[in-house]
């Protein structure tokens, strides 16, 4: 399961990077009737303005993927640094607010932030606000566990500075946790980025964007369902495969259960 989902995530990423070069038509130019059903030249038919759906599908992943990666990396970085510090110091910060963070869905802070920030910045900010505390929690637990290991004690007794011990001894030992956690943050960011794109709060490029395609083609569901189903399928596969890989990675990093 893990290998399959990783392979699928790899395929989606490869299509995203190479797709724009493979698109058979200009993804921004109308070449069919609006919402034309699939035909020989246009296997997935046309969209709301008669643009080729397959071309837009191939061109439309890059922005979402890059934005989600940036947001996930920011959240993981903040959470990992905080988790190292909290785990080393034995602090139990954030225990009181943890329920609230779990219960308040990420979309609400993202919408509130979108009042004063551009849509893309709101995605990054909300991913950090909602995700970094969760990363902090798991990294803190892993760090607290690594603290008393022999090599860490040895480094401390050698008189190395705390920062050096944390970065050179502890971080490599717990690195599997933030690496797997990055996947979960990516899924959150992708959900947020696609939600704000569907709500029209981000600037989608003229060449298309999988989430914006959902919004554009909803009203034509009866004329060309493929224009709606194809980007939905790609988004679902991407998020499912990354989440599955992240869960497997976390189980592996904490050594609990079988990495199915």
């Amino acid at each position: 399961m893990n290998r399959v989902s990783l392979a699928f995530a790899f395929v989606v990423v490869a299509v995203t990077l190479l797709g724009p070069a493979l698109a058979p038509y200009d993804p921004a130019a109308p070449v069919t009737a609006p919402w034309q059903a699939s035909s020989v030249g246009h296997p997935l038919g046309g969209d709301v303005l008669g643009r080729d759906v397959l071309s837009r599908l191939l061109a439309g992943g890059r922005r979402l993927l890059v934005l989600s990666l940036v947001a996930a990396a920011a959240a993981t970085l903040v959470g990992t640094l905080g988790g190292l510090a909290a785990g080393w110091g034995g602090s139990r910060v954030l225990a009181a607010g943890a329920d609230l963070l779990l219960a308040v869905p990420v979309l609400l802070p993202a919408l509130v932030l979108a009042v004063s920030l551009p849509g893309d910045a709101a995605v990054v900010a909300a991913t950090v606000v909602a995700g970094a505390p969760l990363t902090l929690g798991v990294v803190r637990d892993a760090t607290a566990g690594a603290r008393e290991r022999g090599y860490v004690r040895a480094a401390r007794l050698r008189g190395e500075r705390t920062l050096a011990v944390l970065l050179r001894e502890v971080l490599p030992a717990v690195a599997g946790v933030p690496a797997a956690d990055l996947g979960l943050r990516f899924v959150t960011a992708l959900q947020l980025a696609s939600a704000l794109a569907v709500l029209g709060l981000t600037d989608a490029p003229a060449t298309g964007d999988w989430a914006a395609m959902l919004r554009e083609n909803l009203a034509g569901a009866a004329l060309n369902p493929a224009a709606l189903a194809a980007p939905a399928l790609l988004l679902a596969m991407l998020s499912l495969s990354v989440a599955a890989a992240a869960h497997a990675g976390l189980r592996h990093a904490f050594g609990t259960g079988d990495a199915s």
Binding site: L100, A103, L108, P109, L199, N224, A229, L240
Partner: protein
């Protein structure tokens, strides 16, 4: 929790206190996110056409030149007195603007909840049966996996299937212009889009707790001794589940509030969620503030209930 001897008393005092503190924190966060970042209400009203002098006059008139904490304090105290200000867009009182949208949202959220609750129950029963039959298996993988799927994808897939391929329901859910009850067929897509991800989330959180509760030694002992399953469930399993179930309820309420914004906008259903999104797009800060705070309050209220229920471990 680590509460000791007078646990019941301190819980009754501490839990509401904690909820009030969290509510204050949330109100600061909402206010800071909407007011203190660059681009204030004067910019929004001026829309780039007003001169610097007009903007300064507007800021002085609305008190935007005062320090942030002072503005938060006056906003919060006005809110406590029931005054949420006026919409920057229409000039109508925010409470009226939101109140007009609440019935439609109540119909949608109520129907979605009425579908979510039995689905979560069903999922938990299945998780429990699985735990009894295969004790070593963690389970819950499918529900956890499904929570990763973005809600917009659920919306698009349901619309492509139910309204595109099968043509059972309309792809947009416009309310009748004169008010009155909506046609049930327009509720199908928004209710399913809200309920299915919420149910998956609920099962992902609660299914594992149910499986753990059933694997406890005293439960297996009672079953082996031949105590009827119904009594084991009533006496040993359900009391353990009350507090976690209320926590999951809070998560589901939050999911319905946020999902409502998405689903109402996607399907063109004129409720409070659609109002939130259009107010964000129009930078109508007072409306966003009250809707954001209101949703957070609903979640906090259910969390408070969960805190007040005695925890049995």
């Amino acid at each position: 929790m680590r509460l000791s001897a007078p646990a019941g008393l301190s819980r009754a005092v501490l839990a509401p206190l904690r909820a009030v503190v969290l509510l204050a924190v949330v109100s600061v966060a909402v206010f800071a996110a909407t007011e203190l970042l660059p681009g204030d209400a004067a910019d929004a009203v001026g829309a780039g056409r007003a001169s610097a002098a007009q903007l300064a006059g507007l800021r002085a008139e609305r008190g935007l030149d005062r320090p942030g904490w002072e503005r938060w304090a006056s906003w919060a105290s006005a809110l406590l007195h029931g005054d949420a200000g006026r919409s920057l867009l229409t000039g109508r009182p925010v409470v009226d603007v939101i109140g007009g949208r609440l019935p439609a949202t109540a119909v949608l959220a109520g129907s979605a909840f009425a579908l979510t609750a039995p689905l979560v129950l069903l999922g938990c029963v299945l998780a429990g049966r699985r735990a009894l039959r295969r004790p070593g298996d963690a389970g819950g993988g499918l529900a956890t996996a499904l929570t990763a799927v973005p809600q917009v994808v659920v919306a698009a897939a349901l619309a492509a299937l139910l309204s595109g391929v099968l043509r059972w329901v309309p792809p947009v859910s416009l309310l009748p212009p004169g008010g009155g009850p909506p046609d049930p067929s327009i509720l199908v897509l928004p209710v399913l889009t809200l309920a299915l991800p919420s149910a998956a989330f609920g099962v992902a959180l609660l299914g594992g707790v149910v499986a753990d509760a059933l694997r406890r030694p005293y439960v297996t002992d009672a079953l082996v001794r031949g105590v009827p399953a119904g009594r084991v469930l009533r006496r040993h399993v359900l009391p353990v589940l009350a507090a976690p179930a209320l926590r999951v309820l809070a998560v589901v309420v939050g999911g319905l509030a946020a999902g409502g914004a998405l689903v109402e906008t996607v399907f063109g259903y004129a409720g409070a969620g659609e109002l939130l999104v259009s107010s964000v797009a129009a930078r109508d800060t007072p409306v966003v503030q009250l809707l954001g705070l209101g949703s957070a309050t609903a979640v906090l209220a259910v969390l408070l209930l969960a805190d007040l229920v005695p925890v049995r471990s």
